[in-house]
């Protein structure tokens, strides 16, 4: 430890540059992971907020909420409990004078069921009639206020924003929570259709209708349009980035150790045990990578604070800890690879011929 710290203190530029490289690599991995997670969460935020375990959809909907419809006839075959709630989805574009158009998901809810009951508002109140909506905070960030009236698609009539809620994104788009009747009029379906789906806190919704099928929430999320493909792309991108970055760090630390061998040869000649030199090398790599990760973490947090809200970043502490652990582990591996060389360093090489 003594040698490691003294060397870092004396060779400030060299070690400063190595720490800077570790900082940049760690920062890149942390930011990309957080951005990918942020984007991924925008697909599922609303679903996660319902705390549901299963969903009942029309079996011909390809597990897609927007393609699913439950008729009044099919609804008669359902035995809903207090753990079940109707969900009625419609894709809409909101228009309001003085505001940008926003592509959104209208989700009709039944007032007394758990999804509506558990809705957490950051301001305002829940929808009390069919022309009121609770909007995701994205609308607030885009300049909408409580009481603002919006038009949906090209429909006549307007909807009043009566509340705002946080973290209500579904398939990237912000959600407008309204009523089942509101949904019927937006879709132009009349009263023949009850909803798009039924979500449940239980493992399934009791149904005797063969045209309706239960799915787990995980199955439902995996089938969200583009969700799996997007996640796979990001996962591979980050994995390749990590592997290459970790190899680069390991190689740098390896070169660093190799450069020290002449000094180590002198110390070995003087009887300094090899294990002291090995411990010193590993400890030094540990200090460098921990220092780099701490600085990179601070930079990532600053980035998250300063980045525009339109660019979502999400932190998953266990995942980022795992990434940091991978960095530490690989760096130590990079330092351990030349241990054999340290053990075999020939003190004779420092004595002239």
């Amino acid at each position: 430890m003594f040698l490691a710290l003294k060397e870092i203190k004396h060779e400030k530029l060299r070690y400063g540059l190595i720490i800077a490289m570790i900082v940049l690599v760690s920062y890149l991995i942390f930011v990309l992971t957080s951005l990918a997670l942020g984007l991924s969460n925008q697909n599922t935020q609303a679903i996660t907020s319902w705390n549901a375990n299963s969903i009942l959809l029309n079996k011909d909907s390809n597990t897609n909420l927007s393609q699913s419809l439950i008729t009044q006839e099919q609804d008669a075959d359902l035995k809903l409990t207090k753990n079940d709630a109707y969900l009625a989805q419609a894709s809409v574009v909101t228009k309001s004078s003085g505001h940008e158009q926003i592509a959104a998901n209208y989700l009709g809810l039944q007032k007394k069921q758990f999804v509506n009951q558990n809705l957490k508002l950051s301001s305002g109140h829940k929808a009390e009639n069919d022309h009121q909506v609770v909007a995701d905070e994205k609308f607030q960030h885009s300049g909408y206020k409580l009481g603002d009236k919006i038009k949906l698609n090209s429909l006549s009539g307007s909807y009043k924003i009566v509340g705002f809620t946080k973290g209500a994104k579904f398939n990237i788009a912000p959600v407008l929570y309204g009523t089942l009747v509101g949904w019927q009029s937006i879709r132009g379906l009349g009263s023949n259709f009850k909803a798009s789906a039924v979500v449940s806190k239980d493992s399934h919704v009791k149904s005797s209708n063969s045209n309706l099928k239960n799915y787990s929430i995980k199955q439902f999320i995996d089938k969200l349009p583009g969700y799996s493909a997007q996640n796979s792309t990001f996962t591979f991108m980050i994995a390749f980035l990590m592997i290459i970055s970790l190899i680069v760090i390991a190689v740098f630390l390896y070169i660093l150790t190799i450069q020290k061998l002449p000094n180590y040869a002198v110390l070995r000649a003087q009887g300094i045990p090899a294990k002291v030199l090995v411990k010193n090398t590993i400890f030094q790599s540990f200090i460098l990578v921990i220092g780099g990760i701490i600085i990179a973490s601070i930079l990532t947090i600053l980035t998250a604070l300063l980045i525009p809200t339109s660019v979502p970043m999400s932190f998953n502490l266990p995942l980022l800890s795992l990434v940091a652990f991978g960095l530490v582990l690989t760096s130590i591996l990079g330092a351990i690879i030349p241990v054999r060389t340290i053990l075999k360093v020939d003190p004779v090489q420092v004595i002239g011929g």
Binding site: F2, L3, K6, E7, K9, H10, E11, P262, N263, A265, V266, L267, R268, A269, Q270, G271, I272, P273, A274, V276, P347, V348, V350, I351, G352, G353
Partner: protein, 227 residues
Amino acid sequence: MSTIELKHINKVFGTGLSRVQVLHDVNFTAERGELVLVLGPSGSGKSTFLTIAGGLQTPTSGEVQLNQKSLEQLSQKDLENFRLNKIGFVLQAYNLVPYLTVKEQFTLVDRVRKAGNIDSNELTNLLKYLEINDTVDKYPAELSGGQNQRVAIARALYTDPEIILADEPTASLDTGRVQEVGKLLKELATQQNKAIVVVTHDLRLKDYASRIYQITDGKMVEDSKDN
């Protein structure tokens, strides 16, 4: 009784056509209180001799004894301890850790060898004696060649070893400095009762030697000081 003794040492490198015998039946002794010079030109095998005497290399055949105990019987760890406790090396280059100050060169030894080193008063006296007591907070790069050499000598003496092995300690020093180093080594041998072995091609050190060996093409003979 010899402190260090090399008996019938042969050292061969390579095999077949690339086989080179560097040392031929070398016999050598050095006792405490002596400054023994091993004189020879470059390539004569004197550095190989020094590394074998210091336990850094093993001979192809023959035996190295320290206080009548053979080094051959020592494990790698025991050899490290032997070098740390019994031998002080003064090397011609890279002999100090570049990122440690003079004071820290000794602190490093304290961290590895917890007991048996000279105490702080003795170190202060040694540094004064070597005229480097005002360099303790300097790095090797900030010292002159002569100062570096004297720090290396102090570092070698810090563990209070029985034997000092010096490799060309006067290389690149002017005549004045050579005389100083020669006088110093002689005094260390006689006043601190060390066995000091110096391998060199610098004939200017002859005046300070107790005994002299000549080595040529790997063959060593004890020489008269007057030759």
